[in-house]
């Protein structure tokens, strides 16, 4: 029996202990394992995840200040099972992948606005939000020298240094998969990148999709409008949201492109049209940033 079988057996046992139905493994991203047992899920976090920051994040989401905004765990406890960090949560209904047009953009925007407005003093100390570090990590995993990989690396090299900076509570890795429906409504999930940082990073994915021409302007404006109407300040208060969103959205474009290039490579196929759109966007970032930085040669 392999280590991963042992790990899954142990997760199924934990599921059976907390849950109210037979435990089963749910499909999810490759570095995480999710076991569902009726109304609860058991999560084995990515290999190599650090324990101390996860403990801080679990404490934060168990606080009343985040109730109704981020999913509250069944227990704050972080178990260690076969070198993996394991946590237990209520199960919710994810957004339907087969019907992306029905995705709850406004509900997501309002939850993010509420999260960003939580005073940090009402939470225990939190690590830096995870968004900026993910960009470099995703690009660093590219191991080839194809034209697409070179464009991604050049685009990253054009950007100024990325760090979470001071700011407010920030989800750190928000996308439509980070939302589940409970009887009380939609709620944010996944504490892995929760922390203090520039909340503009939580708007960076939809901003990047909109800028690339993948997300309809109508949907983007619904999302941004709902965020601002709920008091969200990450896009500034003025007319031009891009003063605040430009750098996080460019960095996120680089990350999304790196992930897309890696996926196409893993699947042994050329880039599809959507992935090529991301490469084109990276190229425009390089052109624009290079134009800003270039100096006359004479």
């Amino acid at each position: 029996m392999s280590d991963s079988d042992d790990l899954i057996d142990e997760l199924l046992r934990i599921g059976a202990r907390y849950g109210d139905a037979p435990a089963e493994v749910l499909p999810t991203r490759p570095d995480v394992i999710i076991v569902r047992a009726g109304s609860i899920v058991v999560k084995a976090h990515a290999p190599g995840a650090a324990e101390a920051p996860l403990v801080e994040r679990m404490r934060a989401v168990a606080r009343p200040a985040l109730r109704g905004i981020m999913l509250e765990p069944l227990t704050e406890e972080v178990a260690v099972v076969h070198d993996r960090l394991v946590t237990v949560w209520p199960a919710g209904v994810p957004v339907d992948h087969r019907d992306p047009d029905a995705a709850p953009w406004e509900a997501a925007a309002r939850l993010l606005a509420r999260l960003h407005a939580v005073p940090a003093r009402e939470l225990p100390s939190l690590p830096a939000a995870g968004g900026p570090a993910r960009v470099a990590a995703t690009v660093a995993r590219l191991d080839g020298d194809s034209a697409a990989e070179r464009v991604v690396r050049r685009a990253l090299a054009c950007l100024p240094a990325l760090d979470a900076g001071p700011g407010s509570p920030t989800h750190g890795d928000w996308h439509m998969g980070q939302l589940v429906r409970l009887p009380g409504g939609w709620i944010l999930i996944d504490v892995d990148d929760l922390g203090i940082g520039d909340p503009a990073w939580d708007l960076a994915r939809p901003a990047a999709w909109f800028a690339a021409g993948l997300l309809e302007p109508e949907v983007w404006h619904r999302f941004l409008g709902a965020y601002r109407a709920a008091g969200g300040l990450a896009a500034g208060a003025g007319a031009d949201p891009w003063e605040r969103l430009d750098l996080p959205a460019q960095a996120m474009t680089v990350q999304l492109t790196a992930a897309a290039v890696a996926t196409a490579k893993r699947e042994g196929r050329p880039l599809d049209e959507v992935e090529q759109v991301l490469i084109d966007t990276c190229q425009r970032i390089v052109q624009l940033r290079s134009a800003c930085h270039s100096v006359p040669t004479q």
Partner: protein
């Protein structure tokens, strides 16, 4: 003056302030000190005044960044593409 190449006789011409010595035999041309630089300068002035002016930057699309897609609205047809849906829902 004698042509340094074929020893033929050289004739002096003046064109726009540049002295040119041309050999009647081999048609080779000799330039005085500084004349090549003068020609280069004149050439670049000519090409600057004749080159098309740089295209004006595209007007900013209202509410979209300068590095965004040039013609907003081009890609939505690929909306059901697996990679787009995957990106919408995953880290």
């Amino acid at each position: 003056m004698q042509c340094p190449k074929c020893r033929g006789a050289m004739r002096t011409y003046e064109r726009n302030g540049v002295h040119i010595d041309q050999c009647d035999g081999c048609r080779g041309i000799f330039l005085d000190y500084g004349e090549l630089e003068t020609l280069t300068r004149m050439e670049s002035q000519w090409s600057q005044s004749h080159a098309a002016p740089p295209p004006p930057p595209p007007p900013p699309v209202h509410g979209a960044p300068a590095w965004g897609a040039p013609h907003h609205g081009g890609h939505y047809g690929h909306h059901r593409q697996r990679s787009w849906v995957g990106m919408l829902f995953s880290t």
